[in-house]
């Protein structure tokens, strides 16, 4: 990594640090952000590999793949994937992607990197806490990786880990095996422990972000002069701070159910597993679902709001036009976050929860489409009559908008309770969640990486290969996820290892096969991105301070910024989106340009389009 400290800048405040303090146990928000980014990218490869194995099974359920028994062991004897193996794969794919890729990339990587730079602060409010928040991820990384080798395999009860399948283990003293499902013994215990560490890490991060944004904005940086990235990360941090404790508690309760014979989530009486019996008392199975979704529904917004913010910045910059409706955009994010706390029940319409509650949750859920629609219209308004530079970050941002429309609209089907009776837990929901989490968020992450890479490393990524990567990803990912809508409409259940078991699913097998082929194209296409990323870190062309002629504060700092970020504390005079202002001679006016001046301050550098 080439986050280095130039001699002239900031060196007097920040003496040269040892390699270990500078790159490993760093307190510099940028280094921590980049650490989160690379960890996230590595786990993205793991999560992607798990997804490809899932698609391998669904595309060709009866195929014999010679290497499978070698990598999967006895569970896949003869090269045919065993059901337990498949169950582990979809469980761990989701767990890895959500807790080790998307959340760390959005809040960990971009939150850390962008917040101080965009509000003109030298660092986070609590740099040591910040370092801890990254290093608390390492026990989580280690435990989750070890769990693949645990007795019975890694967790296999779905990323939702519903009791009782996930929460039962044998009575104390008989080993932590599960009578209900392979992988819900030791694998599940390790899964719970790992997630507790992730939760603690995120909580430390979110407290830090909130404090930094409230207290450390530079002179002139009012709340309504903050770029949308900061706004979205701010709201996200608040969501995390309020929702995560609930999940953490629920994880502890399930851990106790599994190891100490408590019965928070186990009903009184006996369950049908040999000599197994519930401990004293008796709890509620549905309680877990309430606690889990009370966090995990806001988490859905945690996993998309930062991408929305970043995409707003990218689209405004490359449309050379102010963000359309800045304040409505801020209010929409706040609205999504607020409503996000009262819609968790829509995951439970068919769960046995009182259906009268379902009616209330439905109305709240349907209304959450409103702020999302307002955001979409404002992005379109930003593009309209702009002067679009269609480079890699912009293309990815436009893909975000285009795909978010699909993900947003398909959500209305599930929100409508009677329609949900039919499509609940079908591939329609799998399509919906991937359009939000993959097609939207991941395109947003790509846009963010291509856009801020020059600031992170002082070098540009390769534009040509960036576009090739974009085109492959855009086409192939639609090939994987779009047909899932059709499968869902035809009744295809999710989480089944072998669709050919059902007569009404047999005609759908050609679609499954097509999706699997697209998935492999998509998966292998990502190596272009990885190669581009790692090559450009070392050998990309130098970028200068402001390659995109962008307005927000981070572009006035050197690339990469030194420890302490700015040569002198910046002063902000205007909003972040003053593009093509009639006031200016150029088509941009950085936030630091004082009133009356017409030229952007700072070094002039050629724009890389």
């Amino acid at each position: 990594m080439s986050v280095s400290i130039p001699h002239e800048a900031g060196a007097h405040q920040h003496p040269q640090l040892s390699f270990l303090r500078k790159y490993i146990f760093s307190e510099d928000h940028k280094v921590i952000g980049i650490q989160f980014m690379f960890s996230g990218v590595i786990f993205l490869m793991l999560g992607g590999a798990l997804a490809l194995l899932v698609r391998l099974q669904l595309g060709w359920p009866h195929a014999q793949v010679p290497i499978l028994d070698k990598i999967m062991g006895d569970g896949s004897a003869g090269g045919r994937m065993g059901y337990d193996t498949y169950n582990m794969l979809f469980t761990m794919h989701a767990s890895v992607m959500i807790f080790f890729v998307i959340i760390p990339l959005l809040t960990g990587a971009f939150g850390n990197f962008l917040i101080p730079l965009q509000i003109g602060a030298p660092d986070m409010a609590f740099p040591k806490l910040n370092m801890m928040s990254y290093w608390f991820m390492w026990p989580a990384f280690t435990i989750i990786l070890i769990s693949f080798f645990a007795h019975g395999g890694a967790a296999s009860s779905g990323w939702t880990s519903y009791p009782t399948i996930a929460s039962i283990s044998m009575p104390a003293g008989q080993g932590f095996e599960s009578p209900a499902q392979a992988g819900s013994g030791w694998g599940q215990i390790l899964w719970l422990m790992s997630l507790i560490f992730v939760g603690i890490s995120s909580m430390m991060g979110s407290v830090n972000y909130i404090t930094t944004i409230i207290n450390m904005r530079c002179s002139g940086m009012t709340l309504f002069r903050m770029p949308m990235s900061v706004w979205s990360l701010f709201i996200t941090a608040i969501l995390q701070a309020f929702a995560l404790p609930v999940l953490t508690v629920a994880l502890f309760l399930q851990l106790m159910d599994k190891t100490l014979n408590t019965s928070f989530f186990l009903p009184p009486g006996t369950l049908n597993f040999g000599n197994w019996q519930t401990g004293p008392g008796g709890g509620q199975t549905l309680l877990w679902q309430h606690l889990f979704w009370f966090y995990s529904h806001p988490a859905v917004y945690i996993m998309i709001l930062p991408a929305m913010g970043m995409v707003s910045d990218v689209i405004s910059t490359f449309s050379r036009k102010p963000l359309f409706g800045y304040k409505p955009m801020v209010y929409s994010i706040t609205g999504i976050a607020g409503l996000g706390f009262i819609v968790w029940g829509h995951h439970m319409f068919q769960s046995g929860m009182d259906p009268r509650l379902g009616t209330g949750f439905m109305l709240a859920t349907i209304m959450i489409a409103l702020p999302s629609a307002v955001k979409t219209f404002n992005w379109l308004g930003t593009i309209w009559q702009g002067n679009l530079t269609l480079n890699t970050p912009m293309l990815n941002a436009l893909a975000f908008v285009s795909m978010f429309v699909i993900g947003g609209l398909s959500g209305i089907f599930m929100a409508a309770t009677p329609v949900d009776v039919y499509i609940h837990d079908s591939y329609f929901i799998v399509a919906h969640l991937h359009y939000v989490l993959f097609m939207s968020t991941v395109f947003g992450i790509f846009a963010g990486i291509y856009f801020w890479f020059p600031k992170m490393f002082g070098r540009m990524m390769n534009e040509r290969w960036g576009k090739v990567h974009f085109a492959i990803t855009f086409i192939a990912s639609n090939g994987v996820f779009y047909p899932m809508h059709i499968l869902g409409i035809a009744g295809h259940m999710r989480r089944i290892a072998d669709p050919e078991q059902y007569q009404f699913l047999k005609p759908l097998m050609p679609i499954n096969e097509f999706m699997s082929i697209s998935a492999f194209v998509l998966g292998f296409g990502q190596f272009i991105f990885l190669a581009n990323l790692f090559y450009s870190v070392f050998w990309g062309p130098k970028s200068g301070r402001n390659p995109w002629h962008s307005n927000s504060l981070e572009w006035t700092a050197p690339s990469p910024p030194p420890h302490g970020n700015f040569e002198s504390p910046p002063v902000v005079y205007r909003g972040p989106y003053e593009y093509s202002s009639p006031e200016g001679e150029e088509d941009y006016l950085p936030q630091t340009t004082p009133p009356g001046e017409t030229k952007p301050a700072g070094e002039a550098v050629p724009q890389h389009a």
Binding site: D84, S157, Y162, P163, T164, I165, I168, A180, Q181, L266, P267, N272, G282, T285, S319, K321, G325, Y326, Q350, G352, P355, T359, M362, L363, I366, M367, A369, A373, V374, N378, I383, W384, G386, N387, L390, V401, S402, V405, I412, F413, A416, P418, V419, V421, Y422, H424, D425, S426, F474, I475, N478, Y482, I486, A490, M493, Q501, Q503, F504, S580, D587
Partner: protein, 309 residues
């Protein structure tokens, strides 16, 4: 040249719309509906599909056109505007109205399918079945023909079916037998007492547009009413077989086999936890089958019938 990226966006969106147009013709669409409320569910589905489809095409068309029309031109400067208050109000109020409307029209159907108050009361005219899910099969309990007859003489005796199994109740795994409701006649509703003995399961019947989770420690009532039948006495085997097409009088595996799936992940063999729905033409046919099943059940488990919940 940059503007040609809009073609990529346009092509992908066109393909997406195209798939929805061809899918029904390829047989990749909603399975045949046979339940009384399934038509309402389908109608609401098509309503949402129409509205979302319209806005999907509208927004994507604006996006694709915008990419084409406004792509980089060094001679032009972007319009400097921070927004438009009237537009913001317009595109907040209009979607809000549509969304509220979508929400309100759902309520009646939802109430009808799931509310406790809409469940058929146990009585002489209600078919009662207990479905107990377990890893990985559906244990289904029917009242014996004798018990059913007693309900006719005293409907109050039907109250305790869900809670109290009788010695002579009939147990059949993975086969859900009911009889048809003929339109215009007295409703022949089915009341299912849904339970599970181990983990979460979910009873999903795509042809009925019905799904309900089974939760350990709870008994959840589920109702439906089937308006077509698919089961008849097979002339060659002498057994009651599904897949019967009443219109043609032939066996049609494609449209007249109605499967029961587990739709909530329940462990290793979740994917194989399936059953079938057998709908008899009328009560008499059902009773014929039930007598046969009773004999089979006694033959299988002569001494100790299961009395577990």
């Amino acid at each position: 040249m940059q503007k040609y990226w809009s073609v990529l966006f346009g092509a992908v969106i066109t393909a997406a719309v195209g798939l929805f147009v061809v899918a029904p013709f390829m047989g990749w669409w909603l399975p045949r509906n046979v339940s009384s409320f399934g038509g309402d569910v389908d109608l609401l589905f098509y309503l949402i599909l129409g509205i979302t489809g319209f806005f999907f095409v509208l927004t994507e068309a604006i996006l694709v056109y915008g990419i084409w029309k406004f792509s980089s031109d060094p001679t032009r400067k972007a319009t400097y505007t921070h927004g438009n208050h009237k537009l913001e109000v317009l595109w907040t109020i209009v979607p809000a109205g549509i969304l509220v409307m979508i929400g309100i029209v759902q309520v009646r159907t939802w109430e009808n399918i799931k509310y406790q108050s809409r469940m058929p009361r146990p009585g002489a005219n209600t078919q009662q079945i207990e479905v107990v899910a377990r890893q990985w099969e559906w244990r289904i309990r029917y009242p014996s023909p004798k018990r059913m007859a007693s309900w006719r003489s005293d409907p109050r005796l039907a109250q305790d079916f869900g809670a109290v199994p009788h010695q002579d109740d009939v147990h059949v795994p993975n086969e859900l037998h009911v009889w048809r409701h003929q339109k215009g006649e007295e409703p022949q509703k089915v009341l299912v007492h849904l339970k599970t003995r181990d983990v979460l399961h979910s009873m999903k019947l795509v042809n009925l547009r019905l799904m309900q989770d089974a939760v350990p420690g709870k008994t959840i009532p589920v109702w439906f009413m089937v308006e077509e039948y698919n089961t008849s006495l097979h002339p060659e085997t002498g057994r009651w077989v599904d897949g019967f097409d009443p219109k043609t009088g032939h066996w049609n595996q494609k449209d007249y086999v109605w499967e029961l799936a587990c739709a909530e992940f329940c462990g290793t063999r979740h994917t194989a936890m399936k059953g079938k729905l057998f709908v008899h033409k009328n009560r008499d046919d059902f009773l014929e089958w039930l007598k046969w099943a009773e004999a089979e059940d006694h033959r299988r488990t002569p001494a100790v019938p299961s009395t577990e919940p």
